[in-house]
């Protein structure tokens, strides 16, 4: 367990710091000035020192200088109410890992302590190089910041009807927030994490490129898509020049919205996995897009099946209760999936509705598939 030394002449600051550091699971010891701090450092090794600047007897810069003089390389985070650049520049030259201005927020202290202890080096060189590509769209589960609600789509358009139209064309499982002003967009982006932000290019009094750039600061992982009218101009080229990743044309049509979904809500969403149980999401598009739905599910099944096999499961259970049963597309997909499972040596079971059971029984090729009415039943059968 890492041990941290907090050096500060204020008992209340030491108490607050000690509590927060202990909450992180680390041990903490205290010193009330630089002399005591050096004495403590002489007795044992610490993993990190949190050091104030202004203290009696020996101040922070003085203690830091003596530490480095005697070869003590313990990382130091300055924790101070001193914000003069000359002072901070001075201690940076001697060697600090990071800096926190008092009064500080607990999350800043925790983030910086963890960053230094985990070897990330605190305030490293982080400026983006010009040629660096933009970040990939967010991965919801992995990216959600603590305490922030995750929402799939943000629509920034002064016309409320635009939000309603898009809401009606997106599947129910895709969440959406709509706002009508730049101020509201900035506010919601401070409170939530979005995967895709759609920004209208014609909001009165708003430079959409500037607004998009501001929103990017708050949503570094989101993809930014311009909402624009179809014109004879190169709208996509113009939008990309303004920093947007893509364009969704207004008025919306289902084909464009489905393409948008396919691009930003990857196939993984249509087929989710929990251990060896794979579950198909409902289909919410137009009837003539069912083929596309099954093509995408098929592509995802391949990669998920590989993961199930790699995890040494003997069975894979595919729950298609929510998948559309119109025509023979589902039966064909299940037949192909069963064949793939057989090739990797995994037993294949299907969970579905009674209607699906009837369909599968009506084809010679599929009536032999292991069919169950629920996931629990399939799991029990697999363990038997």
């Amino acid at each position: 367990m890492a041990t941290i030394l907090t050096v500060d002449d204020s008992r209340s600051v030491r108490t607050i710091v000690a509590k927060q550091v202990k909450d992180l699971g680390f041990e903490v010891e205290e010193a009330e000035d630089g002399v005591q701090g050096l004495s403590k450092l002489g007795e044992r090794e610490y993993d990190l020192v949190l050091l104030d600047v202004t203290m009696p007897n020996l101040d922070g810069p003085g203690m830091l200088a003596k530490m480095r003089e005697i070869g003590n390389k313990t990382p130091v985070i300055m924790l101070t109410s001193e914000s003069k650049r000359s002072v901070v520049s001075g201690v940076m030259k001697i060697g600090i890992a990071d800096y926190i201005l008092k009064p500080f927020k607990p999350e800043e202290l925790k983030a910086k302590v963890l960053s230094v202890l985990q070897g990330e080096g605190g305030a490293e060189e982080v400026l983006a190089v010009s040629s660096e590509p933009p970040p990939a769209p967010a991965e919801p589960a992995a990216r959600v910041e603590a305490g922030k609600q995750f929402v799939d789509v943000l629509v920034v358009d002064d016309m409320e009807n635009v939000h309603k139209k898009l809401r009606a064309m997106l599947p129910n499982h895709v969440s959406l927030n709509g706002v009508t002003s730049a101020q509201a967009a900035l506010q919601t982006c401070r409170q939530r994490v979005y995967r895709v932000a759609l920004v209208d290019t014609e909001i009165p009094d708003v430079d959409s490129a500037v607004l998009a750039q501001q929103l990017k600061v708050l949503q570094p992982h989101a993809a930014f898509v311009a909402l624009a009218l179809r014109t004879t101009n190169d709208v996509v080229g113009e939008a990309r020049a303004q920093g947007f990743d893509n364009v969704l044309f207004k008025p919306f049509n289902q084909d464009n919205v489905d393409d948008f979904l396919a691009q930003y809500f990857d196939n993984q969403d249509l087929l989710s996995a929990e251990e060896n149980v794979l579950k198909a999401a409902p289909f919410a598009g137009r009837a003539d897009r069912i083929d596309k739905y099954y093509t995408r599910i098929g592509e995802t099944f391949n990669s998920l099946l590989t993961k199930v096999a790699a995890a040494c499961f003997e069975d894979v259970i595919l729950d298609v209760s929510a998948a559309p049963t119109t025509g023979d597309r589902l039966a064909k997909f299940l037949l192909a999936a069963a064949e793939q499972a057989k090739q990797v040596g995994i037993r294949f079971s299907v969970v579905g509705t009674p209607e699906l059971q009837k369909i599968l029984n009506s084809y010679t090729e599929t009536k032999e598939l292991r069919f169950h009415a629920s996931v629990a039943e399939a799991q029990a059968a697999a363990q038997a």
């Binding site: 520049s89 201005l101 305030a123 400026l127 983006a128 010009s130 900035l186 009165p204 014109t231």
Partner: protein, 288 residues
């Protein structure tokens, strides 16, 4: 007279002229003054504003170009000047008018300072752009004030540089004496430009918070963390760290300002990367 003594005297002359209100400062063109005046009325018609601005065809063309850029409506069709102003909105029009005027202040015909002033202008645009984006962290949408504050934070530099050119002409041509070297030029400008910038901002009747930024943005104000001063101070250090600056910088001090700003503004590594990604290209493309 030694060069050091001369630079001190020059500094005193600049500061004395400010104190005595005898400093000759660039003025806002009458078209801009009039347009800014009528734009104070929230009910003003853009047709009326358009009739004022169209007296300056270059300015009118600049506003039309801004309004028909992709950012403001997809550049779909040709628009009249009142339509362009309506599309931009009063706040953006005000900013564009000040920006067009300020840019002229940074243009010099003298080859000795022309290139430096162009780089100071590019730095100012970078700081303005960053300030507008950093402001988003506070959830505040008044990006025009942040942009103006960033844009004008160094506006005193070209004014002092022009004065030094005039002093140099007098000293070398009239009195046949050597003038200060380039390092001392930088020192004199560094010591006086903020006071001159404040005088200019007051003359141009800029918002008080913009003037305050020009005066105080060399250091952070830790009594008011969300102040525009802190936003411009952080943006200034980020622009320098990204390599967009003129003259020489103290790299240690810039690093210190970035480190303090990370804490005071609440910017993590990811935010800083987003802020600075493609900044050089964005600034270069704005004023080709």
């Amino acid at each position: 007279m030694g060069a050091e003594r001369l630079s001190e005297q020059l500094e005193q002359i600049v500061l004395k002229r400010i104190a005595e209100d005898s400093l000759v400062l660039p003025t806002l063109p009458s078209v801009v003054t009039k347009a800014l005046e009528v734009l104070k009325d929230p009910d003003v018609s853009f047709k009326h504003v358009g009739t004022i601005i169209e007296r300056d065809p270059v300015l009118a063309a600049r506003l039309l170009r801004a309004a028909t850029s992709a950012a403001f409506a997809g550049g779909t069709k040709k628009v009249t000047l009142p339509e362009a102003l309506t599309r931009l909105g009063a706040r953006a029009v005000r900013t564009l008018l000040v920006e067009a005027t300020a840019q002229k202040v940074f243009v010099s015909r003298d080859p000795k300072i022309a290139e430096s002033m162009k780089r100071v202008w590019q730095h100012s645009v970078a700081v303005a752009t960053l300030s507008r984006d950093v402001l988003a962290l506070s959830g505040n949408a008044d990006s025009e004030a942040a942009y103006l504050a960033g844009l004008l934070h160094d506006v005193g530099k070209p004014v002092v540089a022009s004065m030094l050119l005039e002093f140099e002409r007098q000293v070398t041509e009239v009195y046949n004496r050597p003038f200060i070297d380039s390092a001392e030029w930088v020192t004199v400008i560094g010591r006086t430009h903020r006071a001159v910038g404040v005088a200019l901002a007051e003359k141009w009747q800029m918002p008080e918070q913009v003037t305050r930024c020009i005066r105080d943005c060399a250091e952070y104000d830790n009594a008011d963390r969300s102040s525009l001063v802190n936003i411009v101070c952080f943006s200034n250090s980020l622009a320098k760290k990204t390599g967009i600056y003129a003259g020489t910088i103290d790299a240690d001090e810039v690093d210190a300002l970035v480190m303090i700003g990370r804490s005071i503004i609440g910017a993590n590594d990811e935010i800083i990367k987003t802020l600075t990604r493609g900044l050089k290209e964005r600034v270069a493309n704005l004023y080709d």
